[in-house]
């Protein structure tokens, strides 16, 4: 029986990391959420995955680890992040009450810092001196480079060549932070290819290197670890919603690429039956064009990057290249826990097109003075639709997972600014 005492004065307790016997929804011994998840990787990586899983099990039951993680979240990442009510934006949502969870206000500008700080601490416990990571929009790469600088770890970031171009600012940030950025020229030159290349590095350098995985996909135990470190978003938001509104929200909205920000805010609400959970995937140029990243809503069950989940694939199991105006959602797979939440019906998933996301992006900027990440704008666009459906009595919590500074190049082009 795992027993951990919450440390006085912290915002994080053992129970805030899921799975300490209090939530009952950890994956099974093989890392399965229902039929999803597991491990489909070269045998060479199994010992490393076992080592990470075992060390994480010790860490999450270790008060000293929790205290250090908590300290970093408060004094470095800037937690807790605030809620912001957005009445002028809400006018466009049928008058529903929309409240944002401001992950954009964290250090490095997106929720990714939460997972990264947890895993960087884990890297030190593993006795490894080098971290590698994949990145799409560059946010996970920047967060990883940040944590590596903070903790004195060598850092190599794999990033698709296409993404390097559309997120040039983040490439520069990573370099300034001391990381080596390796552009990946294989395949679609985006996030999925960066993940392939990171796995190739890991299998070659596994003795010295931790793969600091950035989303809740990949082989077990990554989906569980990343979820647990992202879970603080929902833990805080649930408490703050009760303080601010006296009740739980009717719905929680989040963007879904790999799915870490969405699981981060959903997870604390899973047992609250009255709270609807809505995930919004990138609809790209529209379903009919075939240029989208609608993995959960249009994909089929398969194996990608070490995990059984929904995948965009053809009838022979070849991955279909995804498309989204937002690099962070441009991924043809998704975390296995979302696949499970979809199939159990606990969460619902929808598509938001590039155009709808960009409209919400501009609307939030003009009505509330907040420039969101284009990824997060998919959740905002979803909330606008949902608000019109639910009406003025509804309260909707939206995970504003990151800020839009990195997207100015895209916005300048899109809006002719």
């Amino acid at each position: 029986m795992r027993q951990v005492t919450a440390t006085e004065g912290t915002i994080l307790t053992a129970a805030d990391l899921a799975g300490n016997g209090v939530h009952g929804d950890d994956p099974d011994v093989h890392g399965k959420f229902g039929i999803f998840g597991g491990r489909y990787v070269p045998e060479a990586l199994i010992p490393a995955l076992d080592q990470v899983a075992a060390e994480y099990e010790r860490a999450r039951n270790d008060v000293a680890f929790l205290r250090e993680f908590d300290h970093l979240l408060r004094t470095y990442a800037g937690r807790p992040t605030t809620l912001t009510e957005v009445p002028r934006f809400s006018e466009q949502a049928g008058g529903a009450r929309i409240i944002l969870k401001r992950e954009d206000l964290t250090h490095t500008g997106a929720h990714k810092i939460n997972n990264v700080l947890g895993q960087a601490l884990l890297t030190k416990r593993l006795g490894k001196r080098r971290v590698i990571a994949e990145t799409g929009a560059g946010q996970h790469g920047v967060a990883t480079a940040t944590a590596a600088a903070l903790m004195g770890l060598e850092c190599v970031i794999y990033m698709g060549a296409v993404d390097c171009e559309r997120q040039a600012l983040n490439v520069a940030r990573m370099k300034l932070l001391g990381a080596t950025v390796v552009p990946v020229h294989n395949g679609s030159k985006t996030l999925k290819d960066a993940i392939n290349e990171a796995f190739r590095d890991w299998v070659t350098n596994v003795d010295t290197t931790h793969y600091l995985f950035g989303t809740i996909a990949g082989p077990h135990p990554f989906p569980e670890i990343v979820r647990d470190f992202a879970r603080i978003i929902g833990v805080e938001a649930r408490r703050q919603m009760l303080e601010l509104t006296g009740k739980l929200p009717d719905a929680v909205c989040a963007a879904v690429g790999g799915g870490s920000n969405a699981i981060g805010i959903f997870h604390a609400f899973l047992e609250d039956e009255g709270v609807a959970l809505h995930g919004y995937e990138a609809g790209g140029r529209g379903l009919e064009t075939g240029e989208h990243a609608l993995t959960l809503t249009e994909g089929s069950i398969g194996v990608l990057h070490g995990s059984r989940t929904y995948v965009l694939q053809d009838e022979e199991g070849q991955t279909i290249e995804s498309h989204s105006i937002s690099a962070g959602l441009d991924y043809p797979g998704v975390g296995p826990e979302h696949a499970w939440l979809k199939d159990t019906g606990r969460a619902a998933y929808h598509g938001i097109t590039d155009a709808e996301a960009m409209e919400a992006f501009a609307l939030l900027a003009r009505t509330e003075g907040i420039i969101p990440a284009i990824e997060s704008s998919h959740a905002l666009a979803g909330a606008l639709k949902l608000g019109r459906e639910l009406g003025p009595e509804a309260t909707i919590l939206v995970n504003l997972s990151g800020r839009g500074d990195k997207d100015m190049g895209t916005a300048m082009k899109y809006f002719n600014l």
Partner: protein, 264 residues
């Protein structure tokens, strides 16, 4: 049809290691792959692994990635893979398919096992299918009468080696090093130890792959393993050749060098 059991029994009787060659279907072209694999057999390969080109080859190095990318660009599909197997099996070599798991998963495990057996294939190598997830595939393969080969690695614990070997029929694939596919200047020193550790858990033949690319290395590996697996070095010969005829000649030359190596 030549089975793996026949191949390894014959090699053992000849007091040599078996030579296993790898080539993706559809590379350099659909028909060119059959021609190249046939040349490999004629030069002395006992076993041919036909690679099923997959969009996300995360354990392959640049050479195989390049070949697979060309195969997919050529429009190579599973029907072409099966046709390649059929063509190569006719040469008398024991012919396997090496593939990541998802294409079989999507095609249907029973259907793939049946169609592969129908094409004259004798089994599969599935590098990303772990013992924990392999149950349905082993059942489908047993029903179709084909072998299942899985990989052990230098990092594998005794417990894992036993679990993997228990899932294998035909032979056990020992990955010589921690890394991706591709020829290296020298064969990893970890390989021999891994072969010895694997033998403690199985009576099956143990073949060594990853990083073997010339006759000297083949001879070295043949000193302790039952089979020597070569892939990227063959592909490199085809990639570097100015035309198909010189590519086939280069493949024959390498095959002969390796065949001499496993007999040294």
């Amino acid at each position: 049809m030549t089975t793996l059991q026949t191949v390894f029994a014959k090699a053992k009787a000849d007091e040599r290691a078996a030579l296993v060659g790898y080539l993706p279907a559809g590379f350099p072209t659909k028909d060119g792959a059959i021609a190249a694999a046939t040349a490999m057999v004629e030069a002395g390969c006992d076993v041919i692994e036909i690679g099923l080109p997959y969009s996300d080859p995360l354990m392959d190095g640049p050479t195989i990635q390049d070949a697979v990318h060309r195969a997919l660009t050529n429009g190579t599909r599973i029907a072409d893979v099966l046709r390649t197997v059929e063509g190569v099996a006719k040469t008398g070599a024991a012919t396997l398919v090496m593939t990541y798991w998802n294409p079989i998963d999507r095609y249907g495990a029973e259907r793939f096992a049946r169609d592969l057996a129908g094409a004259g294939g004798v089994g599969t190598i599935t590098p990303d299918l772990t013992p924990e997830e392999s149950g349905p595939w082993r059942q489908a393969s047993a029903d179709a009468g084909i072998d299942t080969v899985f990989l052990v690695a230098p990092s594998s614990t005794e417990e894992r080696i036993k679990a993997v070997a228990d899932c294998c029929t035909g032979f056990v694939y020992a990955a010589s090093l921690m890394g991706v596919t591709g020829a290296r200047d020298s064969v990893s020193s970890a390989a021999q130890g891994l072969v010895e550790r694997t033998r403690a858990h199985t009576d099956l033949p143990v073949c060594v792959g990853l990083g073997v690319g010339n006759g000297r290395q083949a001879a070295e590996v043949a000193g302790y393993a039952d089979g020597v697996i070569v892939g990227s070095a063959f592909i490199r010969r085809l990639l570097d050749a100015p035309d198909e005829a010189s590519g086939l000649a280069a493949v024959r030359e390498l095959g002969a060098e390796l065949a001499a190596g496993v007999r040294a």
